[in-house]
């Protein structure tokens, strides 16, 4: 199933490219708008990157899901004997590979603009990779909930962003600790716990939301 998701993503390279384009362009614009001051850039980089990355995830997930719903795949998943949560898990893993990893590459590419040191960059990428499954699971849940509505992406961000706040808090506290040169392991383990909890929550409730997304 993971392979199928990956292949599916490969087939829709265009939407993936536009996602990455959106992310890099918005990153570029905000860093440009913040001005020359290295201190401000350095201080605000983790927050900016986190927020833009979560928005990017929430804009990209509904597209794939919508296409599959139109193709009738969701109905088939419901009829299939395997659990519908398995489908969501495979989706999250595949998204981790084809959204999170490219986003990391873009962050690495843009890092000179934010004047980040290498160990800060490392912890930023690490927190993002840890937090991403929860973002993706919640994004999938949100896009299942909003599949039959007209609102689309904006509605999805409205209902899901408040739920991602714990990720933001712990992810950014890891970054703050690193920037101050302190031991960040406690925040990191908190982040892992929260991410795991939110992923499980998103996937479980998402599998309940699947029948809802199918009926019209």
């Amino acid at each position: 199933m993971i392979l199928r998701e990956l292949y599916n993503a490969y087939l829709h390279k265009g939407s993936l490219l536009s996602t990455l384009g959106f992310f890099s362009l918005s990153l570029f614009c905000t860093s440009f708008a913040l001005g020359q001051s290295e201190v401000i850039l350095k201080r605000s980089a983790p927050a900016l990157i986190w927020i833009l990355a979560s928005l990017t995830t929430f804009f990209s997930t509904p597209h794939l899901l919508k296409r599959e719903a139109e193709g009738g795949l969701l109905d088939e998943i419901l009829l299939h004997p395997c659990l519908s949560s398995t489908y969501l898990v495979s989706k999250v893993i595949a998204e981790w590979v084809f959204v999170a990893l490219p986003l990391i590459c873009i962050i690495l590419f843009f890092s000179p603009m934010f004047a980040l040191a290498s160990h800060e960059l490392l912890s930023l990428c690490l927190t993002f990779l840890i937090g991403f499954p929860a973002l993706s699971a919640l994004g999938n849940l949100g896009s299942l909930l909003t599949l039959n509505t007209q609102g689309g992406g904006i509605l999805l961000s409205l209902i899901i962003l408040p739920l991602t706040l714990p990720l933001l808090i712990f992810g950014l506290s890891v970054m703050e600790m690193t920037q101050l040169g302190l031991d960040s392991s406690s925040s990191l383990s908190f982040l892992m716990g929260v991410s795991l909890f939110l992923s499980i929550l998103g996937i479980t409730i998402g599998s309940w939301a699947l029948p809802l997304a199918v009926e019209r």
Binding site: L145, T146, T149, Q150, L155, L158, I159, P162, I205, W208
Partner: protein, 237 residues
């Protein structure tokens, strides 16, 4: 049993019976509560008269939490048993709860300006209550985004269930983190650290808020019932 309760006729009968009682009690509680809170209760020895806003602020926050808990329980009923009365009560309760949350935030920040020197701080309690407001808004937006309300209510109920994890966070936020917001002074296991002369008006105000909520809930639920009835009649004719 579950479904006899859901009949509109029984709801109307019970609510018509309770309605005058609720109005009388609500007016009484508001009157005596406001009088004792604003006139007869002593000013705080540190905060002076500014603490009187607490008689508005504290019950509003409690009601915001209570209404969300009610919403979460009703959502469970909607998802598991597709209970029709629960649907109507849930969509009637959500906007009222959002208003209580907004009232709590606004009065809190008005109090914060003279006491803390700022309208807003990024304190755990304040942030989690703001998240509660966003959850209410998201619930309503999701419900309204569906063309068919029966579908919308189920999607929104799922959201309300996830949002319920915010409730213990709000409750615990003043104890788990070092916050500017003071910890609970009444819902402690030992005796409350508040003088009876202040506790009494606070209790009255809470009761008044509760009756006000019930009043609005009944009115809104009746409107919703009648709206649905009209819709059904239109569809038939």
């Amino acid at each position: 049993m579950k479904f006899t309760l859901a009949k509109p006729r029984i709801f109307f009968k019970v609510s018509r019976f309770l309605f005058p009682f609720i109005i009388v009690m609500g007016v009484l509680c508001f009157g005596t509560g406001l009088y004792t809170a604003l006139v007869t209760s002593p000013p705080d020895y540190q905060q002076g008269d500014a603490m009187r806003i607490m008689y508005i602020h504290v019950p509003a926050s409690w009601m915001a939490l209570c209404v969300y808990s009610l919403l979460a329980i009703l959502s469970l009923f909607i998802l598991v048993w597709r209970h029709p009365l629960a649907e109507i009560l849930a969509i009637s309760a959500a906007p009222i709860g959002a208003l209580f949350t907004l009232l709590s935030l606004v009065t809190g920040s008005l109090w914060g300006k003279p006491m803390w020197g700022t309208y807003w701080v990024w304190d755990a309690r304040l942030t989690s209550v703001l998240v509660l407001l966003f959850l209410y808004v998201g619930y309503w937006a999701l419900y309204k985004a569906y063309a068919h309300p029966a579908q919308g209510i189920r999607a929104a109920s799922l959201l309300a269930l996830i949002g319920a994890i915010n409730l213990p966070i709000i409750k615990g936020s003043v104890n788990w983190w070092n916050t500017l917001h003071q910890p609970a002074s009444i819902t402690k296991l030992s005796t409350p650290s508040i003088h009876p002369s202040m506790l009494f008006p606070l209790g009255l105000m809470t009761a008044a808020y509760g009756f006000y909520f019930l009043l609005l809930l009944i009115l809104r639920a009746r409107t919703e019932f009648n709206k649905r009835k009209c819709l059904v009649q239109e569809n038939f004719s």
